[in-house]
């Protein structure tokens, strides 16, 4: 079989594809253009693709060993706290930002350039192949796969060829007659699938990139009874993409009516484990100014105003009131406390800059179900509110709110402050049950633990290309399935006049790529052909 007659319908492959003819070794002298072409060929060779794929796999690994800024900023901070030198070195090599790093990007961009360079010529070639005719029937079929013969009477050569043509067409082959033989090919979808698969990967990459640039993510804590309006200032934290524009923030308002939590009560191995969180919210937008009731659950985000709103955290927010010595209220707020363990022992910070003789800071511990340990310390034994207790350590001094450096609302810089209560002082921490009011030392005034509500911590996202990523991913799978499981094969049927008046038929096939079922397919064609000839007109 001569290769040259094949080249049109063969899928185009890089030089070092296993099936390709060996590349010519003697390189002519290369001009600048020649060098360019040479490098392009290298870049789009199978070997380079393979090398880059393996490199990509290896390059992805460090990101699972070292904490990443995007996913685990606290982990990065821990590295810095433990060993600054090491952390600096790691940071220099962008190991805390592996997936946005120069070297990781270089690998996948090269891979995708190689991919495009490989796929484009193949696509062009494939379009030509789709319009070209199956190749000439080889002179000697017996060398090919699944070769078999049969002799049939009751027909002549022309009739046998016509019926062969029909049988093959019906089996999904594209056919072409060459003299007394039929040449047939099928499975063009295999190459189509492969091209769709590779192109879809490019689609995924582009959409992921665009989505990251156009979208944003933000976090917001809402206490029961409070609400959130979708404006930039209302977010607790906000990470815009590179091309973010404020006009993409749709105006809507979410009010949290209640957060219902269900706990395991029966199974002692999991006693107290939360089973279900339901945030009951009311959503106000232009379509529904009077509000619509809705829920947000883990695994069931709320889709509103082009945003996806996820319930990612929850906790308790004790309402704390501070009065000065004259009894005037100088602070009253529901303060969200951050959970520290599964029983929701939580820590919170209160800052009272004005209204007292000195600035006051408090570090609070909240125990939803407080019980006393043998040591006398408190601990929470259940995450639900069964015996809520709040303890407070007081500090006076400079809260450093005025020096312009942004301070976390969840942290109190106590180095320059004077501790009034709690461990290390003569006075014990203030301990308050719900509704209690206690005197602060030094005649500062009083603190009241009014009530406690739950809060939800919402992640609010906009990712305009998310749906496209999914579409391309599904396309990739479809392409993959077609290209891996649709066989591409050629089959030939040749008819000659038999010795005793009948027709002698030869059948053979040729696989293009993996094709374990070829022999059976040829046998099948022969069988169908025999049947077709035996009852003509069928």
């Amino acid at each position: 079989m001569s290769r040259s007659s094949d080249t049109v319908t063969d899928p185009l492959r890089p030089d070092d594809y296993v099936g390709s003819a060996a590349p010519t070794v003697n390189q002519p002298k290369l001009g600048p253009l020649g060098y360019l072409r040479f490098f392009w060929r290298q870049l789009t060779s199978m070997r380079t693709a393979l090398f880059l794929l393996l490199l990509l796999a290896i390059a992805a690994i460090p990101g699972s060993l070292v904490p990443q800024r995007s996913a685990d900023p606290n982990g990065v901070q821990t590295y810095y706290d433990n060993d600054v030198e090491l952390a600096r070195v790691l940071d220099f090599f962008q190991l805390f930002d592996v997936y946005g790093s120069v070297w990781f990007s270089a690998v996948y961009l090269l891979l995708f350039i190689s991919l495009i360079g490989c796929v484009l010529p193949r696509t062009k070639h494939h379009f030509q192949a789709l319009r070209s005719r199956p190749p000439k029937t080889p002179a000697r079929l017996q060398r090919l796969e699944g070769f078999r013969t049969q002799e049939l009477g009751g027909t002549d050569v022309a009739g046998a060829v016509a019926s062969a043509d029909q049988v093959l067409r019906r089996a999904g082959y594209r056919t072409e007659r060459y003299g007394d033989s039929v040449s047939a090919e099928r499975g063009y979808l295999r190459e189509t699938g492969n091209l769709v698969f590779h192109s879809a990967l490019v689609g995924v990459l582009i959409c992921v990139g665009l989505g990251g640039g156009l979208g944003y993510t933000g976090q917001k804590i809402i206490v029961e009874g409070q609400s959130f309006t979708n404006t930039l200032l209302a977010y607790d934290s906000f990470n815009p993409g590179r091309w973010f524009g404020e006009e993409t923030l749709n105006p809507y308002r979410i009010e949290l009516d209640s957060l219902d939590v269900e706990y395991e009560e029966q199974n002692l191995n999991a006693y107290g484990q939360p089973l279900d969180f339901t945030a009951n919210v009311r959503v106000y937008d232009q379509g529904a100014p009077e509000g619509v009731d809705s829920t947000i659950k883990v695994n069931e985000p709320l889709r509103e105003g082009g945003n996806d709103i996820y319930l990612l955290g929850n906790g308790f927010a004790p309402t704390i009131t501070v009065r000065n010595a004259d009894g005037d209220v100088v602070f009253r707020e529901a303060v969200p406390f951050l959970p520290q363990d599964a029983q929701l022992t939580s820590i919170g910070v209160v800052k009272v800059p004005d209204g007292l003789s000195e600035q006051l800071g408090m570090i609070g511990f909240f125990y939803p179900t407080a019980s006393e340990l043998e040591t006398g310390a408190l601990a929470s034994t259940h995450p639900d509110l069964r015996n809520p207790v709040l303890t407070l350590q007081l500090y006076t001094g400079d809260l450093q709110l005025d020096d312009g450096i942004p301070r976390s609302v969840y942290a109190l810089e106590t180095d320059d402050m004077t501790q009034l209560t709690g461990r290390g002082t003569d006075i014990e921490s203030l301990v308050l049950a719900e509704g209690d009011t206690v005197e602060m030392p030094n005649g500062l005034g009083t603190v009241t633990f009014e009530q406690v509500d739950r809060y939800v911590s919402l992640d609010i996202h906009r990712d305009p290309t998310q749906g496209w990523v999914l579409i391309f991913a599904v396309l990739a799978v479809a392409g993959l399935l077609t290209s891996l499981f649709i066989p591409r094969r050629r089959v030939w049927i040749k008819a000659t006049e038999g010795p005793d008046g009948g027709v002698r038929l030869e059948y053979a096939g040729l696989a293009r790529g993996e094709d374990p079922g070829l022999e059976r397919a040829v046998a099948d064609v022969a069988e169908r052909h025999r049947k077709a000839l035996e009852k003509p007109g069928a």
């Binding site: 070092d16 594809y17 296993v18 099936g19 390709s20 199978m46 070997r47 693709a49 393979l50 794929l53 393996l54 990509l56 796999a57 992805a60 690994i61 990101g63 699972s64 904490p67 990443q68 995007s70 996913a71 685990d72 982990g75 592996v98 992921v208 993510t217 395991e264 199974n267 191995n269 999991a270 484990q273 939360p274 089973l275 279900d276 969180f277 659950k297 883990v298 695994n299 069931e300 985000p301 996806d308 992640d459 996202h461 990712d463 998310q466 999914l470 599904v474 990739a476 799978v477 993959l480 399935l481 891996l484 696989a511 293009r512 790529g513 993996e514 094709d515 374990p516 070829l518 022999e519």
Partner: protein
């Protein structure tokens, strides 16, 4: 009720383990016996054997599966020991499957929500795929490997990973738990078979390269090229499942964690495995890489799967903290 069913399920797992062990012994003895038998034959008619062993290294054009007949031709008839081993595997599988189902009933949910459950379910599916694949092709020569693997995995799971039945945390309450994890297990099962075939292929290729008879049990298995084709087909199915796993995982992550991809450690490793197997498929189509090198890639890929399930689950920090330990 829950606890009764759970302990019953655990008894089932232990019983299955015992039967797998016996099956493993049968398969191993069978291989050894073949070796002995072969040595005898070789002495008696060394020339004939050498000829039949020497015909192997196929020089078929790419993509041509070797005719089936030639692969089976030199295979000795199925021995009694092997038949016993195979029946025992099927029996153990039935017991094992029953205990997995019991565990599911005990928990009133799919039995793959923590490492212990994942391990017992994954093993039963690996065995199931091994049994089912026999309809397609006789791969019983992998019996020793597969039953050995099952015994080991169940041993580690019961001793190291066992946890009582607890309800699902809210993040896991999703149909995607069913889809994503099931598909991942199916992928793993095919990769497990593929890796075994690749290992045998490498050994076989070495034997063929030397042109000697080599360890005699190898004469029972197909030649290296057939093994490579088998491994490829099995691995490709695994790859498709893995691609589904990746996508289903992303869809689920979007619902549960608010982003479809965040380079969480488990996501990183799922990606690494996917890319490794894409590399494997490419290697098969790259001159100079088909054959041994591609086989190595498949083995590295499956090792990464195991690593992902054990080391990454236990020691790496991330959102997928569902080992239950």
């Amino acid at each position: 009720m829950t606890e009764t069913l759970d302990s019953l399920s655990l008894v089932g797992v232990y019983s299955a383990m015992a039967v797998y062990t016996i099956a493993f012994i049968c398969f191993t003895l069978d291989l050894a016996q073949r070796a002995a038998a072969r040595t005898k034959v070789t002495k008696e008619a060394s020339e004939r054997v050498l000829v039949s062993a020497g015909t192997v290294p196929g020089r078929h054009p790419i993509g041509h599966a070797k005719p089936e007949a030639s692969a089976d031709a030199e295979r000795s008839p199925i021995s009694k020991l092997e038949r016993v081993g195979f029946s025992l595997t099927a029996l153990a599988f039935a017991v094992h499957l029953a205990s997995v189902i019991l565990r599911g009933i005990a928990a009133s949910r799919v039995p793959w929500a923590n490492m212990f459950e994942f391990a017992i379910t994954a093993t039963v599916i690996i065995i199931g795929v091994f049994l089912a694949v026999q309809v397609w092709r006789d791969l019983r020569f992998l019996g020793a490997y597969i039953t050995g693997f099952a015994t080991l995995a169940l041993g580690v799971a019961t001793v190291g990973f066992y946890v009582d039945v607890v309800p699902l945390p809210p993040a896991l309450q999703s149909v995607w738990l069913v889809i994503h994890v099931l598909v991942a297990i199916l992928g793993t099962a095919f990769f497990a078979l593929g890796a075994a075939l690749s290992v045998v292929q490498l050994v076989q290729a070495r034997r063929e390269g030397r042109g000697t008879a080599g360890p005699s049990w190898l004469q029972r298995v197909p030649d290296a090229e057939t093994l490579e084709n088998l491994a490829y087909r099995v691995n490709v199915v695994g790859f498709v499942f893995w691609t589904f796993t990746l996508i289903a995982g992303a869809v689920w992550a979007e619902r549960a964690w608010g982003r479809y991809w965040g380079w969480d450690t488990k996501e990183v490793w799922t990606f690494v495995i996917w890319v490794l197997f894409a590399g494997y498929i490419h290697a098969r189509a790259t001159r100079g890489w088909r054959g041994n090198r591609a086989a190595w890639l498949a083995i590295v890929g499956f090792s990464a799967v195991i690593f992902n399930f054990t080391i990454v689950n236990l020691f790496f920090k991330g959102l997928h903290a569902y080992s239950g330990l």
